[in-house]
C-alpha cells in the first residue's frame, strides 16, 4: 500500500459526512461473467469429449482377414451354429474354426469369389491359420464354460452372440485401443445402455441371468427370519447367495463362478 493511498484514505476519513469512494477491485462473481462462462465452457467441452470424442478415438476399426458370409454357410450345413462351432470330446468348446475345418470343403476354391480365392491362396495353400478377430473375447480374468450354458442351461447361441448367423458380411471389428477387446463387450453405446441381450457382455450382464437363476432357486425352503436377512443380502449383493451352488463346474458361488 503506497503512502499516498493511506494518505488519501486518511484524508477521506477526516472529511465529515462524506463516504470515501471506494475503488472496488474486480470480483469475478457475476461482475464480468467470466467465471460462469468458463465453467460452462469447461463443462460442455468435457461433456463433448466424454460422450463423443472419447468413444470416437477409443476404438480403432479393423477388418476381418476374410469377409466371411455366415448366412451362405449356415444354409449349407445341417446343424446350424454347431456344425462349425462345436463341443470337442473332452467338453471344451472349439470356438472359431481352425483351418483344418475350413479345408474340409475349401481345399480348393469352390467359386470365383475374391474373398474365397484370397482365403485359399493366402491361407489354405500356405497352411497359415486365419487370424480371426473374435468379437466375444473376454479379458483373461474371466472363466466361461460353453458346456455349462449351452448343454446344461440349454441357452441359444443368439442370446449372447446375436444373430450373426444371418449376416452376409463380416462386421467391422472395433478394437478398444487400451484393452484390445472388441467394442461389443462394453457395448456400442458408450453409456452401456442396451436393447438386446447380446448388445453388451460385461460382468453385470452375465450377473443378470445368474442373479435371476439364483433367486429363483434360493428362496425355496427358507425359514422367514432366514429369508428376511437373506433378502437383504440378495438385494445388496445380487447373485451372491443361492439355494444351490450357482456353478456346477466350479462348485463355488459368487465371484468364483466366473473368476477362478
Amino acid at each position: 500500500m503506497s503512502t499516498s493511498d493511506d494518505k488519501a484514505k486518511a484524508d477521506a476519513l477526516t472529511d465529515t459526512g462524506k463516504q470515501p469512494e471506494q475503488d472496488k477491485p474486480e470480483k469475478g462473481n457475476g461482475a464480468s461473467g467470466s467465471i460462469p462462462f468458463f465453467f460452462l465452457v469447461g463443462f460442455i467441452a468435457s461433456l463433448l469429449v466424454g460422450w463423443v470424442v472419447f468413444p470416437e478415438f477409443l476404438y480403432s476399426e479393423k477388418k476381418q482377414p476374410i469377409d466371411f458370409n455366415h448366412a451362405l454357410h449356415v444354409d449349407m450345413v445341417d446343424e446350424g451354429c454347431e456344425s462349425c462351432h462345436f463341443f470337442r470330446e473332452d467338453g471344451s468348446f472349439s470356438g472359431v474354426p481352425g483351418l483344418a475345418q475350413c479345408i474340409e470343403c475349401h481345399e480348393e476354391a469352390q467359386t470365383d469369389h475374391p474373398e474365397e480365392v484370397k482365403f485359399v491362396t493366402q491361407y489354405v495353400e500356405k497352411y497359415r491359420e486365419v487370424p480371426w478377430l473374435v468379437y466375444s473375447r473376454q479379458p483373461n480374468c474371466v472363466f466361461f464354460s460353453h458346456a455349462a450354458h449351452v448343454r446344461l442351461a440349454k441357452m441359444d447361441c443368439v442370446t449372447c452372440h446375436g444373430p450373426i448367423g444371418e449376416s452376409t458380411h463380416s462386421r467391422i471389428y472395433e478394437e478398444n485401443r487400451i484393452t484390445g477387446l472388441s467394442r461389443d463387450i462394453w457395448g456400442r453405446n458408450i453409456a452401456g445402455i442396451k436393447r438386446n441381450s447380446w448388445d453388451r457382455m460385461k460382468m453385470d450382464d452375465c450377473a443378470e441371468c445368474h442373479a435371476e437363476a439364483a433367486e429363483k432357486t434360493a428362496s425355496e425352503g427358507e425359514a422367514p427370519i432366514e429369508g428376511f436377512f437373506n433378502n437383504i443380502i440378495r438385494i445388496a449383493f445380487p447373485g451372491s447367495l443361492s439355494g444351490r451352488k450357482s456353478s456346477v463346474q466350479t462348485q463355488h458361488e459368487a465371484c468364483f463362478v466366473c473368476h477362478k
Binding site: 469475478g28 464480468s32 461473467g33 467470466s34 467465471i35 460462469p36 462462462f37 468458463f38 465453467f39 460452462l40 465452457v41 469447461g42 463443462f43 460442455i44 467441452a45 468435457s46 461433456l47 469429449v49 466424454g50 460422450w51 472419447f54 468413444p55 477409443l58 470337442r88 473332452d90 471344451s92 472349439s94 470356438g95 479379458p139 483373461n140 480374468c141 478398444n176 487400451i178 484393452t179 484390445g180 477387446l181 462394453w186 458408450i190 453409456a191 452401456g192 460385461k202
Partner: protein
C-alpha cells in the same frame, strides 16, 4: 473474454463436472484394469484343443516315458507317463524342463557354416543342399586319397538305429573310428565280458533288493535311470531296505542313507576287496552260487585273503577295520543284497579292478541274475540289417587301428576310449583325424585336459556337429547340421540305463520341427546317397522313417501305440548261456585277462607338495553334465552354496580352509596340474579334510545367458587317468592347490 486465475479454475471445475457426468472416467478405469491384465509378463495359457502325445525322453540315458500336453500346436507341459515300466509316471527336473530346450534360444535354426575363425561364433546360414554338398566334397576327397580311416565320429548313441546308421556309414566308407562317449557302461560291459563272458549291459533289480551297498553311486544324483532310482529309493525307505553309501563326501544319497562311510577317495575298490576278504574268511558267501557257478575262486580267494586284510584296508581307505567286518557281515547276511558302483552319475568309466571287485561281491552273495541282484541284460538285437559290402578302400580303411586304440594289443578289451583321442591326434602329423563328426555329444566340454584337447582340436581340419543346440562343440565346429530335437523326431531308444529288462523306448515327434533342421538319420542317408556306391548301396532306405519301418516291421505299430516295448517276462540267465566264459562259469579271475582285476585303485595325477589337496568332482541331479546343458528352470534350482551369480563354490572342510586362511565365501584360486580357476569357498563339514569338492555341469561358455559364463568347468581342471589293465579312463579326481587371492 480474459482468462484469469479464477476463470481458469472455474474452467477446470466445469471440466471436472462434465467429465464426471460423462462415461469417460468409468470406462477408462475399467479399460485400464483390463489393460493391466494384458501386460506381457502376465502368463496366460493359450486357448485351443488339448491333446496329449506320449514319447520317450532322451535328455539322459534313463529312457523315461513322458507325456506331453499340447494346446493347439504348442507343447505346454511334460509329465511322466503313468504306468510306464521305467519311471511309472515320475519325471525328473531335467525332463520336466525339456520345453525350454525345444523353444529356447540355444537352438541351431538351420545348417550353419563357420564364418570367421573357430570359436568366434560367427556363422553363415546355408541351405541343406549346400551343407550336405560341402560334407560330401570333403569325404569324397578323403576317400580318393585312401584316407577314409581318418574320418571319425564321436557319438553319444550307439545301440539304436541312428547310432548304428552312423557306425554303418563309417564302416562302408572305410573307417573304424566310431567312438562312443565314455561312461560307466564301458566298465560294466567289460566286467560282464570278463567275468561272465557275455556281451550285455548291467541291469539292476533295484526294486527287489533289501540291502544296497553303493560304492559312490549317485543314486539320488542321477545314476542309472534317475527317476527309476528315485522311486526305488523311496520304496526302500518304505520297505526297510538298508542303504550304505560309501563315498568321501556327504552327497544327497549319503545324507539319506542308513549309513555313510566316508572312504578315502579312489579307494572304494580296496574296500570292496576288504569286504570280500571278510566274507571269504568267515565263509559268509552263498555256497550254492559259488560252488556251482563260479570259477577261479580259490586263486582269487588266496589273493584276497593275503592282501586285503581289514588292517590293510583300514590303512588305505581310512575305514575302521571293525566297521569293515560288521559291514561285510550285514551285507552277506541280508536277504537280497546288491552292490553298485560307478561314481556319481557314472559319467567317467572307472577302473576295471574296482568294478570287478564290486561285481565279485555280488557273486559272493549269489545275486548274479537273481531277484534283487545284478542281471546281464542282452543288448538290443532288433537291428538286423544286411551286411555291408565293402570295397577295397573300405576294407583297407577298416584294417587300420582305431584312433583311440581300442581293440589293439594294449587295450584289447576296450571298445571305446574317447579320452585317448586328443593325445593321439595331438601327437601325429598329419593328424590321424582329418574329418570329425559329433553326434549327440559335447566332447569339447566333457573331455578333460583342455590344453591337450585344444591342441588336438586345432589339428582336425574339418569338424561337423549334428547338435540341435549351440553347445561348446558346435560353437567350435566348422559346420553344424542341426538334428531335430528329441521332441521333434522319431527315434528308438535302445535301453534304459541300469534297467534290468530288455527295453526299447520310442521317441515320437510331439511338434513339427520348429526350425530348418533335419533328422540325423536322414542326413546320413542323404550323404550316403551322394557318395554313391558302395556307400549308397549299404543304405537301401528312402528316408529315416522308412529305415525305422523296415527295422521294426510289424512291431513298429505296437511300439507307436504303447511308446515302449519291454520283455516283461525276461528272466536273466535263461534262454541263452548265462556264462559264456571259457569255463562256462562266473570267473572271479578272468581267464581272458588274469591281471584285469588286480589293480583296484588308481592314483590321482599331480605331486605333493605343489598340490597338497585332492580335487574331487561331484555330480548333482540339478546339474546336467553331459551332452545337454541345464535349461533355465533347472539352473535356477542350484543353491547359492554351489553357484551364486557367476561364481562357483567349491566345498572345503573348515579345518582345511582354516589352515589355508580361507573363510566362508572367500575367493580363492584353485589350481591343478591341468589348469586353474577362480572360485569361492563353501565350508562344508560333509567333505573329508584335505579334499576339495567341485560340482560338475557348470563352466559353460556356450548355450544362453542362463548358463554361459556361470561357474567353472570341472573337466577343465582334470585330466584322464588310464586304468592300467583296461585302458579306461578311471580319473576320480586330481591333486590340487587352493590359495587365497
Amino acid at each position: 473474454m480474459k482468462m484469469d486465475r479464477r476463470s481458469f479454475l472455474s474452467f477446470l471445475i466445469g471440466g471436472a463436472a462434465g467429465t464426471t457426468l460423462s462415461p469417460l472416467p468409468w470406462k477408462l478405469t475399467d479399460d485400464l484394469a483390463i489393460w493391466s491384465q494384458n501386460w506381457p509378463w502376465t502368463p496366460v495359457p493359450a486357448g485351443g484343443e488339448v491333446t496329449f502325445v506320449e514319447t520317450t525322453c532322451m535328455l539322459c540315458p534313463g529312457g523315461c516315458g513322458v507325456t506331453v500336453r499340447k494346446v493347439g500346436d504348442r507343447a505346454v507341459k511334460i509329465e511322466g507317463t503313468p504306468g510306464h515300466p521305467v519311471n511309472g509316471g515320475g519325471i525328473c527336473i531335467l525332463g520336466l524342463s525339456g520345453l525350454q530346450l525345444l523353444y529356447g534360444p540355444t537352438r541351431v535354426p538351420a545348417p550353419l557354416r563357420r564364418a570367421g575363425g573357430r570359436g568366434e561364433n560367427r556363422w553363415e546360414k546355408i541351405s541343406w543342399d549346400d551343407a550336405l554338398a560341402l560334407v560330401v566334397e570333403k569325404l569324397a576327397a578323403l576317400r580318393e586319397n585312401r584316407l577314409s580311416h581318418t574320418l571319425a565320429c564321436i557319438s553319444g548313441t550307439d545301440g539304436g538305429t541312428v547310432g548304428r546308421l552312423m557306425e554303418r556309414f563309417l564302416t562302408v566308407y572305410g573307417s573304424p573310428n566310431f567312438i562312443r562317449t565314455p561312461s560307466m557302461r564301458d566298465a560294466y560291459e567289460m566286467t560282464l565280458h570278463l567275468m561272465q563272458g557275455v556281451q550285455a549291459s548291467a541291469g539292476f533289480d533295484v526294486e527287489n533288493t533289501d540291502f544296497i551297498l553303493s560304492f559312490g553311486s549317485g543314486i539320488l544324483e542321477g545314476w542309472g535311470s534317475p527317476v527309476r532310482m528315485f522311486r526305488a529309493h523311496s520304496a526302500w525307505k518304505e520297505n526297510g531296505a538298508k542303504v550304505v553309501q560309501i563315498e568321501p563326501r556327504l552327497s544327497n544319497t549319503a545324507a539319506k542313507s542308513d549309513k555313510w562311510l566316508p572312504v578315502n577317495p579312489g579307494t572304494e575298490g580296496a574296500l570292496a576287496l576288504g569286504l570280500a576278504h571278510v566274507i571269504l574268511k568267515e565263509s559268509l558267501h552263498r555256497r550254492e552260487f559259488v560252488d556251482f557257478y563260479a570259477w577261479g575262486l580259490d586263486r582269487w580267494k588266496n589273493e584276497v585273503l593275503s592282501k586285503w586284510t581289514p588292517e590293510e584296508v583300514e590303512a588305505v581307505t581310512g575305514i575302521d577295520k571293525s566297521t569293515t567286518v560288521a559291514l561285510a557281515r550285514s551285507f552277506a547276511g541280508a536277504g537280497r543284497p546288491l552292490a553298485l558302483c560307478g561314481r556319481g552319475k557314472g559319467s567317467i568309466p572307472g577302473s576295471i579292478g574296482e568294478f570287478m571287485a564290486v561285481h565279485a561281491l555280488n557273486a559272493l552273495v549269489g545275486n548274479i541274475n537273481r531277484k534283487g541282484g545284478v542281471w546281464a541284460v542282452p543288448g538290443p538285437d532288433y537291428i538286423r540289417w544286411p551286411e555291408v559290402e565293402m570295397d577295397a578302400t573300405a576294407a583297407a580303411g577298416m584294417q587300420q587301428p582305431r584312433v583311440d586304440g581300442a581293440g589293439t594289443e594294449k587295450y584289447i578289451f576296450a571298445r571305446h576310449l574317447l579320452h585317448r583321442v586328443p593325445e593321439m591326434v595331438a601327437a601325429a602329423d598329419p593328424s590321424l583325424v582329418q574329418a570329425l563328426f559329433i553326434l549327440e555329444a559335447n566332447p569339447y566340454y566333457t573331455l578333460s585336459d583342455p590344453a591337450l584337447l585344444k591342441k588336438a582340436w586345432d589339428k582336425i581340419p574339418f569338424i561337423v556337429s549334428f547338435s540341435s543346440f549351440m553347445d561348446e562343440t558346435a560353437q567350435n565346429a566348422d559346420l553344424i547340421l542341426p538334428n531335430h530335437m528329441y521332441l521333434e523326431r522319431y527315434e528308438d531308444v535302445p535301453y534304459a540305463e541300469g534297467f534290468n529288462k530288455p527295453y526299447i523306448g520310442l521317441a515320437k515327434p510331439v511338434v513339427h520341427p520348429q526350425f530348418s533342421t533335419m533328422h540325423a538319420g536322414d542326413v546320413i542317408l542323404r550323404l550316403a546317397k551322394a557318395l554313391g556306391d558302395p556307400v549308397q548301396k549299404a543304405f537301401p532306405w528312402e528316408d529315416y522313417e522308412g529305415c525305422l519301418d523296415e527295422t521294426f516291421g510289424d512291431a513298429l505299430e505296437t511300439l507307436r501305440e504303447t511308446g515302449y516295448r519291454v520283455e516283461a517276462d525276461f528272466a536273466p540267465g535263461s534262454g541263452y548261456p548265462a556264462f559264456g566264459t571259457a569255463s562256462g562259469r562266473f570267473e572271479f579271475i578272468s581267464e581272458e585277462s588274469r591281471d584285469a582285476g588286480m589293480q583296484a585303485m588308481v592314483q590321482p595325477q599331480g605331486e605333493e607338495p605343489a598340490f597338497p589337496l585332492i580335487l574331487i568332482p561331484f555330480d548333482s541331479q540339478r546339474l546336467a553334465n553331459g551332452y545337454i546343458g541345464d535349461p533355465p528352470f533347472v539352473i535356477k534350482t542350484v543353491p547359492d552354496t554351489v553357484l551364486k551369480g557367476d561364481a562357483l563354490f567349491v566345498e572345503v572342510h573348515p579345518e582345511t580352509a582354516k589352515a589355508i586362511g580361507l573363510s566362508e565365501g572367500k575367493a580363492a584360486l584353485l589350481a591343478t596340474p591341468k589348469g586353474q580357476a577362480r572360485v569361492r569357498v563353501h565350508l562344508f563339514e560333509g567333505i573329508m579334510p584335505g579334499l576339495v569338492g567341485i560340482p560338475t555341469g557348470l563352466g559353460h561358455h556356450a548355450y544362453d545367458g542362463y548358463l554361459a559364463g556361470k561357474g567353472v568347468n570341472a573337466n577343465a581342471l582334470m585330466g584322464p587317468v588310464e586304468d592300467g589293465a583296461s585302458g579306461l579312463n578311471a580319473a576320480w579326481g586330481i591333486r590340487a592347490k587352493l590359495s587365497r587371492v
